[in-house]
Amino acid sequence: MRLTQFARKQRVTIIAGIAAFQTIIVLLQLWLFTATMETFLAGHQETELPAALASLVCFALNGGLFFYLRGLER
């Protein structure tokens, strides 16, 4: 279904939902980044690769939502 087929108020609701999901994901990434920096400065190395992969998954989720939105707009 294309986004233009939704009523305009529905479109606002859809994009607000996507923005809310993305905000949660970005906050998770912020937490991952600060925790990784903390362990890195403490000289530990165990968490950096898993945290980077988790952040990559978060980014992919964000990208998926973004391109889903763009797909709806077409």
């Binding site: 009523a7 305009r8 108020k9 190395q45 980077a52 990559l56 980014f59 939502l65 973004f66």
Partner: protein, 182 residues
């Protein structure tokens, strides 16, 4: 009906239909629902950029760690002679590079320890207090155990970076990092 009215698009000032409007008009809509949609759309794009920035930061840390692993341990460097320090005395030195300030402390006849001098909280120089068995950061009143470098009080949560030491032929040598980043 209200629902139908909400779908009516206001006529632009030039009177032309929406499809004939210039591209910039999309970013400055006349109707509230469209304006709300545009502002949220911009926020979503901003979140994407933020997400990309955090991802770049994570991989930047990985890159630094990989470069550090690939690089050899710092070279062995003579930093003091045993006779130079009595028990409880300390000496500043730079290791492994000029500008990396470290501090050597003699704890007993046979026991030396050395730490990077930057506090693990906000990088203020730490000062030895062998009389208290601690290292002190005067900036925010942070305290570390002088034997291990572990934080014991105040805001620091990470230990002081520790320099590996070797005593031979009456001389003290620094031979790499034991823990942390100098």
């Amino acid at each position: 009906m209200p629902e139908e009215n909400s779908e009516i698009i206001s006529v632009a000032p030039d009177g032309k239909p929406p499809k004939q409007q210039p591209a910039w008009r999309k970013d400055f809509p006349l109707d509230w629902p469209e304006d709300e949609y545009r502002s949220r759309r911009g926020f979503v794009a901003f979140l994407m950029l933020t997400s990309a920035a955090f991802l770049a930061g994570q991989f930047w840390i990985l890159l630094i760690q990989a470069r550090r692993k690939a690089g050899a341990q710092p070279s062995v460097k003579e930093i003091a002679s045993v006779a130079e320090l009595t028990v409880g005395q300390s000496k500043l030195f730079e290791y492994p590079n000029p500008g990396n300030h470290c501090i050597l402390i003699r704890l007993s006849e046979t026991n030396f320890v050395a730490y990077g001098q930057k506090c693990s909280h906000l990088s203020c120089p730490v000062l030895p207090r062998p009389d208290l068995g601690r290292m002190h950061c005067p900036c925010h009143d942070g305290w570390f155990d002088i034997r291990t470098g572990e934080p014991v009080a105040g805001p620091p949560r990470r230990p002081l970076p520790r320099v590996g030491l070797e005593v031979r032929d009456g001389k003290v040598f620094a031979n790499g990092y034991v823990e942390g980043v100098i």
